[in-house]
């Protein structure tokens, strides 16, 4: 078990290194020089050159990368070009808002997705199952930006029952949460349905019935506990997509989270903030995956013992 955890941690560090490296390369591949963008179209060559030197952009890419990595290790992403503040601090300020949104979306998905999946599996091939399937298919294929705009039009502009943008109250959280949750919820429904259908014909489910247990216990305890093993794995992986979704949802709803900061910063080539955001999001993702791995071991004793 100890060796396994060490190996897992090492791999996580590797993933983080990959993320910061890719974003470094990508930022320098996309056209647009931050010095130009910051100074505006009126700046002359000398001003641009001076700023480039100040930002270290005149060095070779290798040199820049070495400096960058050294700084990353110290979580030092430099000043934001745009906001004149420490990049990491800027990002960290935005983290609670994103976590809040992601958590409510996750909870909503679990609260609705799991029961819907169970119902669909128990009523497999009935009209209820079909209706749920259609719902989840639509949920999976509806683009978030479109759904977000439709929800704003209906509930904010039309019915005027919820605010269209911004933050500050629970009401502000409703529409972004629904928008962010829907695709994830839809996947959860399908996973739960198929996961449960896969185990309902297993011998131990028959045994549970033969033991005279109630159908609720048979399905929700004996079958579901086994079905959860693959569900948890995929949920962990899909959580990355949910984090990615925050970028769009936060932009549509002007939610003051990391995602919106990231989009703004990319537009302005605010390297420091972009890199800090990516590292942070990647770290959250890696942590979630670690958690899922531990949970997996907890859910499946066969894995737990094999790791010993």
């Amino acid at each position: 078990m100890g060796a396994y955890v060490v190996r897992r941690l090492f791999f996580s560090l590797f993933v983080l290194w990959g993320a910061v490296t890719i974003i470094f390369v990508v930022l320098r591949l996309v056209p647009g020089d931050p010095a130009y963008i910051m100074l505006g179209p009126d700046a002359d060559q000398a001003q641009v050159a001076a700023l480039r030197a100040q930002l270290g952009l005149d060095q070779s890419l290798i040199q820049q990368y070495a400096t960058y990595l050294a700084n990353v290790v110290h979580l030092d992403f430099g000043e934001s070009f745009r906001l004149n503040a420490d990049s990491m601090s800027l990002v960290l300020q935005r983290v609670p808002a994103t976590i809040q949104l992601a958590t409510t979306a996750l909870l909503l998905s679990l609260l609705i997705g799991l029961p819907l999946g169970v119902i669909a599996a128990l009523r497999a091939h009935s009209w209820v199952d079909r209706a749920i399937s259609v719902f989840s298919l639509m949920g999976q294929s509806t683009p978030s930006f479109w759904l977000g705009i439709v929800l704003i039009l209906v509930f904010a502009r039309g019915l005027k029952v919820l605010p269209s943008a911004g933050s500050g109250s629970w009401a502000h959280l409703v529409l972004p949460t629904i928008t962010l949750a829907l695709p994830f919820l839809a996947i959860l429904v399908r996973l739960t349905r198929s996961g449960l259908l896969e185990v309902v014909h297993e011998g131990y489910v028959h045994t549970a019935r033969a033991k005279g247990l109630g159908e609720g216990i048979v399905v929700l305890v004996h079958a579901m506990r086994n079905a959860l093993i693959p569900i948890v794995t995929v949920v962990g992986l899909q959580f990355g997509a949910l984090l990615g979704g925050t970028v769009i949802v936060e932009t549509v709803f002007a939610w003051p989270g990391v995602g919106r900061l990231l989009i703004d910063s990319i537009g302005r080539r605010d390297y420091g903030v972009v890199q800090a955001s990516i590292l942070l999001v990647a770290t959250i993702f890696v942590l979630i995956n670690l958690l899922v791995d531990l949970l997996y071991g907890f859910l499946d004793p066969r894995v737990r013992l094999a790791g010993d």
């Binding site: 297993e202 131990y204 045994t207 019935r209 033991k211 066969r302």
Partner: protein
């Protein structure tokens, strides 16, 4: 008055190929404290019969359109009745103990669940009761193994766990569906010994579903032979063995040299098992029967007493005389 009485039981499954009649008018009795062997080739409907008695025929594919099952004068097919008796009065042990135990729960908890859910026992009481049962079914170092998971046990030990679970609430009827088929030969005898010992101790009835005639020889009072969802012969073990009144039975028996001899499996009789979606008219054994004639093609034989034999010995064949004289 029999403890369990099955009459004209029919069980159908809706499949993609059409409706399969897995059990087609089966009738039999099991007396209190009796050991009855349910024999038959693969697909003859033994397991489905057991499922019907337990009230666990897979839904929605399966249904019971007609017939009756009564247990202790209660109608097991009436809504909710089987559910109330399952686990408490009627228990079951399955063929493959690995897939029949839940892989994610500790065996102690799986046994203890019987006491917790049926008797409202506390966690500690259930644990103590599970430990007693594990000792009783002969699991060594039971107190240490209480918290192990099924995959940490050997096949034989897993089946002991299954048996412990089935016996938890002292049922009066135990159905064991090929309890030794998935096990090593050396372990098979131990599990059979355990089952017969426990049956004697508990005084319960035992329905033993099996392929293995050797298993049956030692323990069963009576045998019931099934073919294509029907009971084709039934009677006291020795009686049926020595004077089989159905060609199917005599085909099966022909493979064993002596009742107490070396163990033997049912060798398939010549010809292939019937296609349940396309059964022949009249007697379903007809395509494989050397005695078949026109009557066999037209009239479906019913169970009746054999000439010159005890009333408890019955076969569903138009020409039992031929069978009786030919073989012996």
């Amino acid at each position: 008055m029999a403890l369990l009485s099955v009459r004209d039981l029919r069980v159908e499954f809706a499949t993609s190929g059409g409706v399969v009649t897995a059990v087609d008018g089966a009738s039999f009795d099991v007396g209190a404290g009796e050991t009855v062997a349910l024999l038959g080739e693969s697909g003859s409907g033994k397991s489905v019969t057991a499922q019907a008695v337990m009230g666990i025929v897979p839904k929605p594919a399966g249904r019971i359109p007609s017939g009756s099952i009564s247990y202790d004068s209660k109608d097991l097919l009436a809504p909710g009745v089987a559910k109330g008796l399952r686990g408490r009065e009627i228990a079951m042990v399955f063929q493959d103990p690995l897939s029949s135990l839940n892989p994610v729960f500790r065996v102690g908890a799986q046994i203890g669940e019987m006491f917790r859910r049926h008797r409202g026992a506390s966690r500690r009481e259930a644990r103590a009761a599970a430990l007693d049962l594990m000792k009783r079914v002969g699991i060594p170092a039971a107190s240490k193994r209480l918290d192990d998971y099924p995959h940490q046990f050997s096949g034989g030990m897993r089946q002991r766990v299954m048996i412990a679970m089935a016996l938890a609430l002292s049922p009066r009827l135990l159905i064991a569906d090929e309890p030794t088929t998935a096990l090593d030969v050396t372990v098979q005898a131990q599990i059979m010994d355990l089952l017969t010992r426990l049956q004697a101790e508990e005084g319960m009835s035992l329905v033993l579903i099996t392929h293995d005639l050797g298993v049956v020889a030692g323990v069963a009072d009576r045998v019931i032979l099934m073919y294509a969802g029907r009971v084709v012969e039934t009677g006291p073990l020795r009686e049926v063995y020595e004077h089989s009144g159905h060609p199917y039975t005599s085909g099966l028996m022909a493979s064993i040299p002596a009742l107490e001899g070396p163990r033997d499996r049912l060798v398939p009789i010549q010809g292939s098992p019937p296609d349940l979606l396309d059964l022949p008219s009249g007697c379903s054994f007809r395509p494989r029967c050397q005695y078949a004639d026109e009557q066999c093609a037209e009239v479906e034989p019913v169970l009746r007493q054999l000439p010159d034999r005890a009333s408890t010995h019955q076969a569903a064949c138009h020409h039992p005389e031929g069978v009786l004289t030919d073989v012996h």
